[in-house]
C-alpha cells in the first residue's frame, strides 16, 4: 500500500495550503470554506467546537446546523446544512453599520470591532443568513449557586483577549463567525473544520490554484446560498 501511505492526509494538506497563503500579503489571500453536504451527518460537533473555541455564551451561535426534511413519510430523508457566516464579498451587513464597527478585511473576512460596536443590531436585520447574533451577557450557570470557572475564560477572537469577567465587550455586541481568524493567523484551521469527523469541511485560499478549496469550488456541483441577494458568499456547498 505505498500509494495510500504517500497520500497526504487532507487536514495536513489544508494546513499547508494555509501556511502558503500566510506567506502572501494579506490582500492576496481569499479565504473560503467548502462544505460537502453529502458528507454531513448532522452531528453538530462543529457547532459545539465553535462554541468552545470562541467561548460563546447562551444565545450566541456562529454555526448552527440546519436540518430540513425532504419528502413525505414514509419516503423521507433529512438534509443537514451547517451555516457559518458566509463572509460575503458584498456583505449587506457592512454598509448599514452606523459607526463603521464592521467591515470587510483585505482577505475577505468580515470582522467586527467589539470596542466600536454600539449594539444597535441593524446588521442582524441586514444579514440574509441570520449569521449574526446578539450577546446579552447570559451565562450557562445562571440560577445555579456556583459560578463556573469556564464561564470566565478569556476568548481570543480577532487575536485579542476578551475578558468576560469585566462584563464589557463583547457583551452588548453583535457577534458572528470570523472563520477563526485568530487561529488562521497562527496557521491553524478553523475549529469547525478540524472537528468534523466526516471531513465535510474544507478550508483554504481560493486565490491559490493548488489549494484543495480552489479545486473544489470549480466543480459544477457547487452552490452558494441565496445567490439572488448578490451577496457573493465565500462559503460554498457541494451537493
Amino acid at each position: 500500500m505505498p500509494d495510500l501511505l504517500e497520500k497526504q492526509n487532507v487536514f495536513v494538506q489544508m494546513q499547508e495550503d494555509i501556511k502558503r497563503a500566510l506567506q502572501k500579503p494579506v490582500d492576496e489571500r481569499r479565504w473560503v470554506m467548502v462544505i460537502d453536504l453529502r458528507k454531513c451527518v448532522g452531528c453538530s460537533a462543529c457547532t459545539i467546537s465553535c462554541v468552545a473555541e470562541n467561548k460563546l455564551p447562551p444565545g450566541v451561535v456562529y454555526r448552527p446546523v440546519l436540518e430540513s426534511e425532504i419528502g413525505t413519510y414514509p419516503n423521507v430523508t433529512r438534509r443537514f446544512m451547517p451555516r457559518p457566516c458566509m463572509q460575503c464579498d458584498e456583505p449587506p451587513c457592512v454598509p448599514v453599520c452606523p459607526v463603521h464597527a464592521t467591515w470587510k478585511r483585505p482577505d475577505g473576512i468580515v470582522a467586527i470591532d467589539y470596542e466600536q460596536c454600539i449594539g444597535c443590531r441593524y446588521c442582524i436585520t441586514a444579514c440574509p443568513y441570520s449569521a449574526r447574533t446578539f450577546d446579552t451577557g447570559h451565562t450557562y450557570d445562571e440560577g445555579t449557586p456556583e459560578q463556573m470557572v469556564y464561564e470566565l475564560l478569556t476568548n481570543f477572537e480577532y487575536g485579542q483577549g476578551w475578558d468576560r469577567e469585566s462584563e464589557g465587550s463583547p457583551i452588548g455586541n453583535v457577534r458572528k463567525c470570523h472563520f477563526c481568524l485568530h487561529r488562521l493567523e497562527e496557521g491553524e484551521l478553523p475549529a469547525c473544520v478540524t472537528t468534523c469527523m466526516g471531513v465535510a469541511n474544507y478550508f483554504g485560499d481560493a486565490n491559490d490554484p493548488d489549494s484543495i478549496v480552489a479545486k473544489l469550488i470549480s466543480r459544477p456541483n457547487v452552490i452558494r446560498l441565496k445567490e439572488e441577494m448578490g451577496t457573493e458568499p465565500k462559503v460554498y456547498y457541494l451537493v
Binding site: 444565545g59 448552527p64 440546519l66 448599514v96 459607526v99 454600539i118 444597535c120 436585520t125 446579552t136 452588548g172
Partner: protein
Amino acid sequence: MSKTVQRIVWVAAIVGFVVGLYGLWLRVSVGHQAANYGSYVPWGLWVAGYIYCIGLSAGAFLMSTLVYVFRIERLKSIGKLSLFTALVSLFAALFMIWLDLGHPERAYKLVLNTNFRSIMGWMIWLYAAYFILLLVELWFAMRADLVACSDDAGLRGKLCRFLSFGKTDTSEAARTADANILRVLGAIGVPLAVAFHGGVGALFGVVGARPYWNSGLTPIMFLVGALASGGALLTFVVAFWGPKVGSEEHRKVVVFLGQIVLGLLLFDLLLEWAEYSISLYSAVPAEAESLRLVLFGDYWWVFWIVHLLIGAVVPILLLVFRGRSVGAVGLAGALIAITFLSVRLNIVLPALAVEELEGLRTAFTGPGLTFAYSPSLMEWLFFIWTISLAGLGFLIGYKLLPIVRTKEVA
C-alpha cells in the same frame, strides 16, 4: 369635560411613571437579558416605540408648518402647541432608542464616527438638526408670550423672565420679525422632517434581506403614518388643552383638525391596502409569511381589533358622524394616536419573526434564538415609563410655559 380628561391624563402619567420605574431599573441593572428581543428577532417593542414616537413628532411638527409656513389662519392658535407636542415626542423617541442600544455609553460614536453610507448614521445628524430647529422655533413662537408672562407670580414668572433671555421687545415690528423668522425656520423644517422620518422608513426599506420591509413604499408609508398619527395626537391635545377650550373658535379648530386627520387616515389605509394586497397576491414566500403573521398569526388581533377596529373604523365613524363635537373628535384623535403603536409593531416585528433559512428555528436553542416574540415585562414597563415621562413633560411644560397664551406671532 376638558378638565376631566386632563385629570385622567395626569393620573395616567403619574401612575405610568411610578410603575414604569421598575422597568427602567431592570434595564439599568439586568439589561438586555430581561428583554425578549434577541438574536433572531433583534428589534422589539422599543424600536417600534421609537418609530411610533418619532412619527408622532414628525406629524405634529408638520402640522405646525400649516401655521408658520403656510399661514393657515384658522389654525393660528395651535402653532406652539404642535411644536411643543413634537418636542416632547421627539424626546421620548430618542430616549427609548438610546437605551435599546447594547452599549448606550457609546452613543457618541454615532457622531464622532458616523458612517454616512448607513441610513442609521444619517439619523443622528438629522435628529440633532431637528431638535435644535424645534427649540429655536418654539422659542421664537413663544417669545412675545414669554415677555408677557414675565410678570406672573412665582415660578412661572421667573421661568418666563429667564427664558425670554432679555429680549423684551414686543412691538408690532418685533413680532412681525419673529413671524418671518418662524416662516423661514418652518420652511427649513419641512424638508428636514420629510428627510428624517422618510429616512426612518428608508432605514427599513433598504434592507434587502427582509422582503416585508424592502419596498419603495415603506418611506412613504412612514410619512403618511406620521402625519396621520401625529395629526391625531395633536387633535386630541388641542381638543382638551387647546387654547380657549369651550369657545366656538376652539370648536372650529378642532373640527378642522378632525377633517384633516380623517383624510390622512384614509390615505394611510389606502397605502396599507396597496402594500398588503399586492404582496399577498404575488405571495412571494418570505413576504407572504410576514403578512400571514400580521393577518392570521398569533397576534392577528393586533391588526384586526386594535388597528383596524379601534384605530380606524371607530375613529372614522366618530369623525364622519360626530365630526362637529369636540369631545368626539378629540376621542377619535386619541384612539388613532394610541393605537398607532400597533401599526408600528406590525412593521417592525413580522419582518423579523420569519426564518431566513429553513431549519433555523430548531437548529440551536438559547435565549434570544427564537422567532416567537412578545415584549417582556421590562420592555413594557420601560416603554410605559418613557411615554409617561414625556407625558409629564408635556403637562408640566403646559402649566409653566405660555404654550396656549394668546399673543400669537404668526
